[in-house]
Amino acid sequence: MALAATESENPLTAGLERLPVAPTTLVIFGATGDLARRKLLPALYNLAHEGALPERFHLVGVSRSDKVHEDFRGECEQAIRRFSRRTPDESVLASFLETVKYVGGTFDDPAVYSELAKVLDGFEREAGEPLNRAFYLSTAPQFFPVIVDQLGAGKLNRADPSTHPQVRVIIEKPFGTTLAQARELNQRVLSTFDESQVFRIDHYLGKETVQNMMAFRFANGMFEPLWNRNYIDSVQITAAEEIGIGSRADYYDAAGALRDLIQNHMLQLLCHVAMEPPASFTAEDVRNEKVKVLHAIPQLSAADIPQMAVRAQYGPGHAGGEDVPGYLHEEGVPEDSITETYAALRLEVDNWRWAGVPFYLRTGKRLARKVTEIAVTLKPVPHLAFSQHGSLGVQPNQLVLTLQPNEGVSLRLGAKIPGTRMIIRPVNMEFLYGTAFLSQSPEAYERLITDAMRGDATLFTRNDEVEAQWRICDPIVGTWSQTPGPLAQYEAGSQGPQEADGLLREGDRWRAI
């Protein structure tokens, strides 16, 4: 049905897969850094390639080094050629690079922001209309408050109230390294921007696989009746990597496995498993439900932590058929480091739906293979009429949602072994997303940048959500930092430390990685 055009509705968007994105200038602070080169610039190029950038789009790079626009365009071009998921189309690349400008200087220098304002005003004069502004903070985290303060001081944090354009700030992780820091950063950010202007990145949320979890739970009626403490025995969330820390010793040794993956990505996965169905898929409804889950997880006391959290470091071992060094012998790692490369937690979600169901989380570097999965183990059947003799036994049903490398859903069922006797063994019923869709998933950053420019915060973390995540992890970080090493070791390429078994309830066991 045709719609009349009003200021609030655009009747031309019906039926379009790609909704319009308002004309925007995107400013990347830290534009010459690793994240910008590897992820952000290729993502922007791919959006340009697909015609998915706003009708009017400009990119401004801000970084400490002094260079002219042309030099920065050359660096953008190199990064796109090297890291883009598709070979660039020369004419599209040239068109894209035409939109690019550069502002150099230190992030605490007000002159940088004056210059930036001139560049932004210039774009708007050229366009003949005010453009939305999105400031992407892709710098080391210590610069986040500095940049936010300077944006405020330079009056770049607010749009002219007489015009429609929006100003948004996109903040990379880590959002603080403790609860106190996260709170302080939130206060600084929110003294300059409204929460509705702030988009805190957790790039896991941009992955199709994570979004599919909501479709899996809330678009399929068959699972929801089972999705509670009456039928579910335990939940296990694993994010294992086969690789070591590579050249990231500086970052990783300061962060560790808990901060790197559990505090953000894995708690988000837990929220997706445990949240109540939101009333709608608006940003606020979805985030409200996630925050409720985080608030239902009790804060661990120092006395609880040894029974509820395990940390370890990888020692020498084998990976991919090669001998590999232990963590303490990796380049750039202090020889007395007590940074964990493996962390495992047992958490409880104390609410009506989940009381008594343990949520096991584990992540680590240099484990047996790369896999990210959520395994939901159902309670055993109340009575077994079958003989267990001569079989692998009747095992509880287990639903495994694999996020990578092969996204899919697998359900372990008991089935009769062909023959004259009633002997049961577990079999898997498998669904693989890769077999069922023609499209290739876009990179997470393509989706997230587009959403931020459109003002859709559903896949971004809200201030209270970040603080609730830190509330869970902060006591563990604090206790571990005060506990001297050496840490428990596990062999590189293995299943992880034996100490992790101590977290498990009697009868539970870790799934093989």
Partner: protein
């Protein structure tokens, strides 16, 4: 698609049962060879093609890359053929390195003649994967075959610009749309234009201008009148325009529409310089004096806006041309989606057809 694991079976004088058994056996063998070889299960596609042109169609389908249907059933038609011959090919996209899956895609080519046509449904039915949607494509006409195979199809792919007569093209698309979901490549060629027109008027300050449009001009490839009509039909259906038949003015079709208090001049003009099917430019004028045009250019669409004060601004909206292979691939993908705006646009396009028959 880079095929790195091919399995082939062929038989002369075969039967659908034998073909289906060969498919099953080859799939089991591939999976046994490497457990990462798994069959894609997305979409069946049936293509009915004249044997003389089957090579061209094969080339077009090879170009769609990852949008290849998971099972493609090609009926290669040669009127005098008596014997049913078939080839089955299973190709993977890789070797499943790095723990990733290697999807298997199946192609079945069945050589048929006139004597097989009456019972074509009974040949096709056992060869598609049950419970997957089926897309039907008959690029060389054969409307009676399409009609027969509709019973097992959830979507029909057609290209309205390939019909020589515009009225027949639109009437046929209309008739099919009443029976099945239609994916029209002529419509898909206008997608980037529709997206950009929608985006141009998306800022709240400009949305009100949509109800004050006074003129629309579309320049198109000489064989793509249908694509131009569909674009204007889309505007008319979405914006509630009253439309009348267009008249012919040399190489252009001209006419008027009405929206509220505003008369809207409509002009569709052939762009003889355009080398590929589709549109060359779209221009929209509003009562406030805004004149916005989008023109196909290097590296994207070239936009030009003149406001009521006469100020002119030009810029490029980056975007890569999908090429004809990309359009066909998009057509296959669209078989799994539903665009509710095509049929209303088609109805308005039909209403705007000049009374005289026009060749596309």
């Amino acid at each position: 698609m880079v095929a790195t694991s091919d399995a082939v079976w062929s038989e002369q004088g075969t039967t659908p049962d034998a073909i289906e058994a060969a498919l099953r056996r080859l799939l089991i063998e591939r999976h046994a060879e490497n457990e990462r070889f798994v069959p894609a299960r997305v979409l069946n596609m049936i293509a009915f093609v004249d044997r003389a042109w089957s090579g061209e169609i094969a080339n077009r389908l090879r170009g769609v890359g990852r949008y290849h249907a998971s099972r493609l059933l090609v009926f290669s038609y040669e009127p005098q053929r008596e014997r049913l011959d078939a080839r089955v090919m299973i190709a993977s996209e890789g070797q499943g390195d790095d723990g990733e899956l290697a999807l298997l895609r199946e192609t079945v080519v069945v050589e048929v003649g006139d004597r097989h046509l009456d019972d074509l449904l009974t040949i096709a039915d056992p060869l598609v994967v049950t419970d997957l949607p089926t897309l039907l494509w008959s690029p060389h006409g054969h409307h009676e075959i399409v009609q027969q195979l509709l019973a097992m199809s959830q979507a029909v792919l057609l290209d309205s610009v390939e019909e020589p007569v515009v009225r027949e093209a639109l009437d046929r698309a209309g008739a099919l749309s009443a029976q099945v979901y239609v994916v029209d490549l002529a419509w898909l060629r206008s997608t980037p234009w529709r997206e950009r027109v929608a985006a141009a008027f998306d800022p709240p300050a400009l949305r009100l201008e949509l109800s004050q449009i006074t003129g629309v001009s579309v320049r198109h490839h000489p064989a793509s009148t249908v694509a131009a009509l569909l674009l204007v039909g889309w505007l008319a259906s979405r914006l509630g325009w009253q439309t009348w038949s267009l008249g012919v003015d040399g190489a252009a079709q001209v006419g008027r529409a009405r929206s509220g208090d505003f008369d809207i001049g409509v002009r569709l003009e052939m762009a003889r310089e355009l080398q590929v099917p589709g549109l060359q430019s779209v221009e929209l004028r509003t009562a406030s004096g805004l004149d916005l045009s989008l023109t196909r250019g290097t590296g994207g669409l070239r936009a030009r806006a003149r406001d009521g004060g006469g100020h002119i601004r030009e810029w490029t909206i980056p975007g890569a041309s999908r090429g004809e292979a990309g359009v066909l691939g998009e057509g296959i993908r669209q078989a799994l989606l539903r665009d509710p705006t095509y049929v209303p646009a088609l109805e308005r396009a039909r209403a705007m057809l000049p009374s005289a028959t026009t060749r596309s």
